[in-house]
Amino acid sequence: MPDDTLFAQVLDEANRANPYPLFAELRRNPVARQSDGKYVVSGYAALRSVIFDPRLSSEDLPSSRRPRTGNPFKDWVLNRIKDRVSNAHRPLIFRDPPDHDALRALVMDQFGPGRVNALHGRVGELVDGMIDAVRGRDEVCLVEDLSYPLPVAVICDLLGVPSEDEPRFQHWSTQLATALEPDARRDDETRGANARTFDEIAAYMHQLIARKRKSPADDMLSGLANGAGKQVMGDVDLISTAILLLVAGHETTVNLITNGMLTLLRNPHELEKLRADPERAPRVIEEVLRFEPPVQFRTRKALGDIEVASVTIPKGSAVVLLIAAANRDPLRFPDPDRFDPDRQDNQHFGFGGGLHYCVGAPLARIEVEIALVSLCRRLVEPRLLVDPPPYRSGASLRGPEQLGISIAGVR
């Protein structure tokens, strides 16, 4: 009898530092039913099959429910309307075609190679400044000193969010990111707090978008709000899209940078190789995405009976796409628990796959490449202070909360 509580153990914070033995257990059944009825897809072949399957819906978010205020008009009329609007205009990661496709196309219009590649210089400046700032110290916290502030500054630049407003987002963003965590998002208190946070950030975005319409600048939000001669998405979708991009910029790349540096510090030989040969960076990054993906899993809902790996996932089931487990499937990757940037044919699912493949992947690759290469080249004798480091609470958006590194100087 297979253990049908393995995924619950994955969610348990006690296993955050090393969930990989649990993943290995899970993979013994590439599609495993859990005691709560969830189906966890952890085998590479099975994941590849379902990630392209149109019967898996991303519209699995519990409906929005604003908390009671005691004011009958708000509780019975206004907030009910707001809940309905929220449900109908989810951010596109929680939407299915055809709506998803239309929204994604408009985002991609603003997120093309031109705009993304133009960020190289800016990312380089930011990274240099952040490393310069730790000169004279013998300990750094990578998360506070670089991996959190870097993507945040970049996404604010890109969207056109004034940097003085940025501190307000930290709390908002952390709150909204719980939408990806299965336990938190079913919790009534979290749902209420999410709805409240959404309203706050939406009010801010509403004003910001109005400003971008009045005086457009060369940023994504101006482009999305004014359409550049093309179709413009509705205002509610525009706000939820802007919030999505902002939250994604705050909560994902941070893990990729931190996981990358953590992995390199655990494999000093690879760190030295990257230092000596920055051309290796793309291989290193792809291997980090396989080995320690910043988004460990996503959830879906089955719209029909889906047969995969000799298991039928019944219609209506919750499905977990366990990317981090598939990325270490020994049937697909030889010696999967070894960090090996020279691996051939490294077709990982670190950025997802299919319809919802990460829109920000090219941007993340640029940020992480510049960050990791600069850290390896400029930090003198970096050593991990604590291993394993303390982790953030998220099981899906998994990454260290702090990463203490001792250094002998800055080059």
Partner: protein
Amino acid sequence: MVVGASLAGLRGAEALRRNGYDGPLTIVGAEPHAPYDRPPLSKHVLAGELAPGATTLPVLETLDARWRLGTPAVSLDPRARTVGLADGTALAFDKLLVAIGAQARPWANADETRLTGVFTLRGRDDAQALCTALAASPARVLIVGGGLIGCEAASCCRDLGLAVTLVDPNATPLARSLGAKIGQTIVERMKRAGVDFRPNAKVRALVGDPAGRVSSAVLHDGAAIAVDLVIVALGAVRSVSWLAGAELQADGAGLTCDSACRALFADGRPSPDIYAAGDVARWPNAIYGGRLVSVEHWGNAVAQAIHAARNMLAAPDDQSDYVHLPAFWSSQFGVNIKAVGLTDGADALAIVHGTRASHRFLAVYGKAGRTIAAVSFDQARWLPAYAEQILAGAPFPPIMHASDQPVVERLAPGFPPPRAAASQGAADA
């Protein structure tokens, strides 16, 4: 030895090395160029976005090969195990991979073919010549044939701002591969792009001016169109003439192989030494009940060459069957088209995602109650799921309960009647 220095030849040679073959390796190619990629020729290259010379394929293994480029193979002697080249030399081989491909089907009238301004599009040199001619802003381009190459060329010419007439013998372009119902979407895209599409029409003759430049085309009904550039896009003929004396089963349909990619002798025995892959090969595909098929698509060239190379190095009792689900893609008139499976013999069609009106949909083809093929217009992300349905022999139409599945619309696919055998070699338009 590998005969053919294009995609299949290169990938086959790489696979030989990757699988451990360390003996001498010779690669023979008719063209003087190192292996290059053909799909961009009728797309980005014609549109002027990519130089013809920028299509060279990356070499993924250390080949350490002797290259005989620019010297076409002209004969094969399976008994002596030699290949004769155009320069008179004969090269011996132990094992041979025939990956020679196909050529553009020429215009039926050789005199008319020689008129200045009449082009075909198959190789890099063709693309180079055509690009140069298009850059001179011809007043009207005539494209003969509405297959993939014809449609892609028409799309590029319109992007360049040139007036385009496309003549096709069927009711719509791509009718033979996708059926007229889906082809109708292409007609609408062409209309929107401003292509003068002439359905159910044939070109009877190309007429030149006294200087030997093409000046007009006469259609089957006697109507004349003034043109100063003609692209003949009548499909391809497989390069088998050099195999005439080889006692192999080679004809206009390709070089026939067994399921392990071994070329068949006239008496039906498989050759132990001669393998084939890519456009030229014709083999029994288990997915389609062992029917002999040849697949002139990029993905097949790669997969079949790799498979054949593996078998070339394996023992005679360790030959594995090549099974392949054909697939192709095209970009034209702002639409990304992807298809999997073979539509041959399809008797039903269903739109399973999107709508034809939006020009964004996924359609599946059925034959005798089973799903055999699928095509997507700007909807490619769902295609792999339907590829699995085809491989599983799923019923038609597969009701997926998909996230954006409309009420499934069932249609007749509208394929033209099969070509008469006699017209196989002749002009199709």
